[in-house]
Amino acid sequence: MLALGLLLLALAAPQADTGSIRVKTDVAAVQVFLDGQEVGQTPLTIPSVAPGKHQLSLIRAGYEDHMEEISVQAGATARVFVVMKRSQSALPPLPVQYRAYHQHASGGCRGTLIVNAGTVDFRSDDGKDVFHVAVPTIRSVARSMGSAPLIVGGLVELAISAKLGQKLLRPADVAACRIEAPGRGYGFWAYEQDSAEPAEKFVVDAVVSQKTKELYELIYQLWSDSLEKGKK
């Protein structure tokens, strides 16, 4: 009893400072990201979560991404149950044009991305960044999992974040589409003209996530088809 009392005494203070999140989905084994960090697969309980608002992202191939802001209170368990939606597999008529945010090592640029049957073309709004990728030359098409380097604001934001003691990595990259071509890799977020364009900062929200997933699935399908043709 004495030992138990000591244990409770010792553990009481730290435990009261945090809460937890219980995440469940109808489909099993959905990848769960909390504030951009992968924390496991559903069903799961995420312990020791700081109180406040957090960004929860659920991702599984063949289903639409689910992004949700969740509020955690100290000493309590927030519960989330998500019914995942199956994504539409039919390809849209080509060419397809997207508004896209192209990641650079630091920051990025906005522009127009056009996907054709055999090519992916990007042109930034200021015309400084232009590239053309032939689909059969692509080495891999992937979705970025995990945090990305700073995407907006560059060094100024880095300095501010460091001063405020915040995470230096922005928890926003779970939805990015990445293409590896010979000699260069490209990262994109696709977004809708009206929803994200006017924002001063580029915000990865549910719409951006969904549009990016569409972009990824389109390019992946075209690439996969080209690989099949190459075999024949």
Binding site: L2, A3, L6, L11, P43, K85
Partner: protein
């Protein structure tokens, strides 16, 4: 060695805050003291058996002189109810530190099917079951009751029986039956929209509700 004995250890020389150091010492002492008790936790398997795998709808049709009941089945796409219930029970019951819980693996579940289906509560469990105890979770039905009768509420429900048994003898150590319900938040047809979102969310809430009750009842049990 001499240097260590000469060093004066006062709070001002301590690199850790005093209360933190005390807390660490307390944890160490407590863990050492509790270790034998933790080690002696009984290893218990949770095995879930569904008598009806699909979501069952009892449609009670009101007639002036009689009630007619129709039983329908709705398969829930992508939703493994059995796994969801096992996981929820595991999470809820894990708070009870008297027992170390784990879900039955596929071989154990398969071996336990005849146990669930036998009519008498007798006999040892199959030899392949390696545990101190087994919690047999027998789900008779889960689903919804809907009716055109004004006095019958539309509800989700789960009808489940739980039994803790000793594998070597099959002796029943604890048992409880639950019939848990939750008000249907809309029409059954509407709840099936959007990949059956309403049905799945509703039955998940019932499942959490019943798991909490199981936890509370089991906590009270002198097992």
């Amino acid at each position: 060695m001499h240097q260590a004995s000469n060093a004066s250890f006062t709070p001002s020389h301590c690199s850790l805050p005093i209360n933190r150091a005390l807390r660490i010492v307390a944890v160490v002492i407590a863990v050492l003291a509790l270790a034998p008790a933790l080690y002696s936790q009984s290893k218990t398997i949770i095995a879930v058996h569904l008598r009806t795998p699909e979501f069952v709808v009892h449609d009670v049709k009101y007639r002036v002189f009689f009630m007619k009941q129709e039983r329908k089945f709705i398969p829930l796409n992508d939703y493994d109810f059995s796994a969801a219930l096992a996981d929820e029970l595991l999470t809820a019951l894990s708070e009870d530190k008297r027992v170390a819980w784990r879900p039955a693996d596929s071989k154990e579940s398969e071996a336990l099917v005849p146990v669930f289906e036998r009519k008498k509560d007798e006999g040892a469990l199959p030899d392949s079951i390696k545990a101190d105890h087994v919690l047999l979770v027998d789900v008779f039905e889960y689903g919804a009751i809907v009716s055109s009768h004004p006095l019958i509420k539309d509800e989700f429900f789960i009808n489940v029986s739980l039994k803790l048994v000793a594998p070597d003898t099959g002796k029943k150590l604890w048992s409880k039956r639950f019939f848990d319900r939750l008000k249907l938040p809309g029409k059954l047809a509407e709840l099936q929209a959007d990949n059956q979102k309403g049905l799945k969310s509703g039955i998940n809430t019932v499942l959490e509700q019943v798991s909490r009750k199981v936890k509370d009842k089991f906590k009270e049990a002198k097992v």
